[in-house]
């Protein structure tokens, strides 16, 4: 790296440009290391599929097409593939998220009117860092800043439903079309459901103490971040999220591998196929109390689709698992009266049902 350093300084004589030069070299070094890392990542990623065949059929000597062989090959291929995709995505998103703090989102939405506000809130819901346990303070902050109730709900629906990890995994495992469908319908449900809740004028179904809340100005402690700081945020996100999520992923792929190897072709067509009209509502109802990480549900989805399950039904199941979770409802109960929670669940599951039927009809 030294030669680059000296050429950089050699052409800049004055003090100020010297400083700029050094900064640029740090940037260049960082970018170079990033590109090198990505190239290496890509090379390994491309070897995963041939390796899984080699491992299952040559090394272990399993028979091609046998139940066990198929299951093992699926597991050996998908586990490193999903983990590698996950690491890359979480890193990039960790960096992107350092630009979008909850404070900024709140300030931005406070001045927005409904409709445009619903769309804005749904989009911000994807990129703003958010976990279900910070739903309540976030809700209070929105109410206090004067964000309309419907707009707040668009955010609260989009944030868990359009999960960026699920989105990129769908892209990696099932192709861009299904990823685009998931993104589009998720956003649409969040916008429409929020708008509908706004029309109902349900402000009086917020808990009384929240309505009477006379808190002072929201305190904002902005942190100045450099690029190195943002890269560090990306690393932290990988340590944090991948460290927590890997177990769900391995379990999800395990279930997926069993389905892939042992469930007969077209078996799913009878219970999760297009012709079974009741399968969409059943998928939603089964999905509500289930809580799985988005990263864990995608391998299961991949295996179900491979066995003849209809796309709409599977999509409805996935959205219901990710977007409506019991723990989140329990937490929201602290600020919302039960009636409003019922409305929330009803509106969102209606949206998901509609999506399920629509895709079974169209595709």
């Amino acid at each position: 790296m030294e030669p680059i350093h000296s050429t950089g300084c050699g052409c800049n004589k004055t003090d100020s440009s010297l400083r700029v030069g050094t900064k640029n070299i740090h940037m260049a070094k960082g970018t170079f290391a990033g590109l090198l890392g990505f190239a290496l990542w890509y090379l390994i990623y491309k070897q995963l599929e041939p390796f899984s065949y080699f491992f299952s059929y040559s090394l272990l000597g399993l028979e091609r097409g046998s139940h066990l062989g198929e299951a093992i090959q699926f597991f050996v291929y998908d586990t490193p593939k999903v983990m590698m995709l996950l690491t890359l995505i979480v890193f990039v998103i960790g960096m992107i998220r350092s630009f979008f703090t909850q404070e900024r989102t709140r300030k931005y939405l406070a001045g927005k009117r409904e409709t445009a506000g619903n769309v804005m809130a749904a989009l911000l819901g994807i990129v703003t860092p958010f976990c279900s346990c910070s739903a309540v303070p976030l809700f209070l902050g929105f109410v206090q800043a004067g964000v309309p109730l419907g707009v707040t709900f668009s955010f609260l629906i989009a944030a868990p439903m359009v999960n960026e990890i699920a989105l990129v995994l769908l892209y990696g495992l099932l192709g861009w079309k299904i990823a685009a469908i998931y993104l589009g319908t998720g956003l649409l449900i969040a916008v429409i459901a929020g708008w509908v809740i706004g029309r109902f004028k349900l402000e009086h179904w917020i808990e009384d103490w929240v309505q009477e809340m006379r808190a002072g100005e929201a305190i904002v402690v902005e942190q100045k971040l450099t690029w190195a700081g943002r890269v560090e945020r990306g690393r932290e996100a990988v340590r944090d999220i991948v460290g927590k999520v890997w177990i769900y992923v391995v379990a999800g792929i395990g279930v997926g591998a069993l389905i892939h190897g042992y469930v007969p072709e077209d078996f799913m067509a009878s219970i999760m196929g297009k012709d079974a009209w009741w399968s969409v509502p059943a998928a939603v109802v089964v999905g509500i109390p289930m809580y799985s990480n988005a990263a864990g549900i995608v391998p299961v989805v991949e295996a179900l689709l491979g066995k003849g399950a209809a796309l709409g039904t599977v999509l409805a199941f996935m959205m219901s698992v990710i977007a409506l979770s019991l723990p989140e409802m329990v937490i929201l109960r602290k600020v919302l009266k039960p009636k409003l929670i019922v409305v929330f669940i009803t509106v969102v599951s209606t949206g998901i049902l509609f999506t399920g039927y629509l895709f079974n009809l169209v595709i």
Binding site: C133, S134, L140, A215, Q223
Partner: protein, 76 residues
């Protein structure tokens, strides 16, 4: 010194609590550390994203778990 760690009790909030305790222990300062998990109390402090750390009534960080070196800097 009075330190408040605000958070409903998720992983990030537990982490903030541990970091604050470690920093206080490392600096050998006598400080009372209280955990605030009531949302109403947080709202009154002006905190709308968690975890948050409040030292002697001053909000030091909101919406993330601080690093130990940061906390050590704040409590010096």
């Amino acid at each position: 010194m009075e330190i408040k760690v605000c958070g409903p009790g998720c992983a990030a909030c537990e982490q903030a609590q541990e970091v604050v305790e470690a920093a206080v222990a490392a600096k050998g300062i006598g400080a009372s550390i209280t955990k605030v998990s009531d949302f109403q109390e947080m709202a009154q402090l002006g905190i709308f994203s968690t975890p948050a750390v409040v030292i002697n009534g001053e909000v030091k960080c909101v919406g993330r778990a601080p690093k130990q070196v940061e906390v050590e800097e704040w409590i010096r």
